[in-house]
């Protein structure tokens, strides 16, 4: 998968993943607060934030595998940073990344419009929910509650991953730091025209 990638792209992807691994761990704390307030559905409200690096990396680098790899690396780094996050998180990361990657693959990695980014966030929601259903044993919960959790997570994926990811990436493009990446080039074209 990485054969066609330039080293520059791989390192930028890794660094994004590392930065967001820290963000993810911080949001775990916030998640626990919401979890305490609202029960299981509390996590789902902010679940989208845990998919954001997929959207950002794919939107900036625009190569097959960016969404999958960035999320997988972010999960690996979360495990490396220790705390109480075990290696099973890497599987969660791969599944979440695969969810977003599937949506980008459906456009043959050509379309990065707002709708596609939001759909990619929702793709991660869908995949991660299926995984969570098994690992966290949602089968023991009432179907109505599980459905509510699913829809909250879907919306969270579209907004917190899709929209916020797009917004942050564009903020970055404005600084000029992305000038050698597709998103930066696109931004420069739009400014000069």
């Amino acid at each position: 998968m990485l054969a066609k990638w330039k080293l520059r792209e791989v390192i930028v992807l890794s660094v994004l993943a590392v930065v967001f691994a820290v963000v993810y761990l911080l949001f775990l704390q916030l998640g626990n607060v919401l979890f305490g307030l609202f029960g299981l559905i509390g996590y789902d409200i902010i679940f989208g934030i845990w998919f954001i690096v997929s959207i950002i990396a794919a939107y900036i680098i625009r190569k097959p595998g960016a969404a999958f790899l960035s999320e997988t690396v972010a999960a690996t780094v979360e495990v490396m940073l220790g705390n109480a996050v075990g290696p099973q998180l890497i599987i969660s990361g791969m599944i979440q990344g695969l969810g977003a990657e599937t949506v980008f693959a459906a456009t043959r990695w050509k379309n990065y419009s707002t709708w596609v980014l939001m759909a990619a966030g929702m793709g991660s929601s869908l995949f991660s929910f299926a995984w969570g259903f098994y690992v966290s044993g949602f089968a023991a919960l009432s179907p109505g509650y599980v459905t509510a959790m699913f829809f909250v997570r879907l919306v969270s994926g579209a907004l917190l991953a899709g929209l916020l990811g797009k917004y942050l990436s564009e903020g970055l493009a404005k600084t000029g730091a992305l000038n050698s990446f597709p998103l930066g080039k696109e931004h420069k074209r739009n400014v000069t025209v």
Binding site: V15, A84, P87, A139, T175
Partner: protein, 259 residues
């Protein structure tokens, strides 16, 4: 032989597979036995400080309690469940309580397994092992290591930014909208700095001859021995044994494919 010396990839796989097996069961006894087993192994065979362990484990008690009450308040009702208490839309059943307890204990069993891993594994060893045993491409592995090394630098940059803002008279944010704005003022420059640093690092790596070729040798080799596989087999057997004990006691309950 201590847990700290087990090959990190094999240790990780043992734990992931244990968790996948544990997820099939919906009774309290299987995770409970697994918890006892993993805590015993952690302290008998790992060089682990009890204080650190407790610090990591404590938050999971809170999470487990919420799992229990969520499952109790919103249980999947099945025919033949014995209702203990009913009030409005709330129905408390004996079966719901048992499933809640099983999910709470499941969270705790995942926690003890995770902590067993993180407290006995060095982060760089884990990455080196992923590269040497699991074929993680060197390009990505060294990229992650470079990124990992950036973290202290990014923290420093964050403090510099904070000071710079203060010197220019930016007031400390007190309200929530102000805090969001402040967050944006930090996030974009920090990310932009990180990306620029990443590009420079890539250039430096290439100029020193790093090609990302998979046929390379390693300064630090992470090896696999028979003991590693013994650990793997013991871990998986222990989970299966937990389920067996639960079955003997008459508690064992499977996931029946309910949606």
């Amino acid at each position: 032989m201590s847990l700290n010396e087990v090959n990190p990839s094999i240790k990780a796989f043992a734990i992931v597979i244990s968790i996948l097996i544990l997820s099939v069961f919906f009774d309290p006894i299987t995770p409970l036995v697994t918890i006892l087993w993993s805590v015993t192994v952690t302290f008998l065979f790992g060089r682990v400080s009890f204080k650190k362990w407790l610090l990591l484990f404590a938050p999971f008690l809170f999470i487990a309690v919420i799992y229990v009450w969520s499952t109790m308040l919103f249980p999947r009702l099945q025919g033949g469940d014995s209702v203990i208490w009913q009030w409005g839309f709330l129905t408390l059943t004996a079966e719901g309580f048992q499933r809640g307890a099983s999910l709470g204990l499941r969270v705790l069993s995942f926690a003890t397994l995770s902590i067993m891993f993180t407290l006995t594994t060095k982060p760089t060893d884990f990455l080196l092992s992923l590269m040497q045993q699991c074929k993680l491409p060197p390009k990505l592995a060294y990229g992650i290591m470079a990124g990992y090394r950036f973290l202290p630098l990014i923290k420093e940059e964050f403090q510099t930014l904070q000071n710079a803002h203060r010197v220019r008279g930016v007031a400390r944010a007190r309200t929530i909208p102000d805090k969001v704005k402040q967050l944006k003022r930090y996030v974009i420059p920090l990310l932009a700095g990180a990306i620029r640093k990443a590009e420079r690092t890539a250039l430096a790596m290439e100029s020193k001859g790093f090609t990302g070729d998979k046929n390379r040798i390693f300064y630090r080799e992470i090896t696999v021995s028979r003991m590693d596989w013994l650990f793997f087999i013991l871990m998986i057997s222990a989970v299966c044994l937990s389920a067996f004990i639960s079955w003997k006691l008459g508690y064992l309950q499977f996931y029946n494919g309910e949606l």
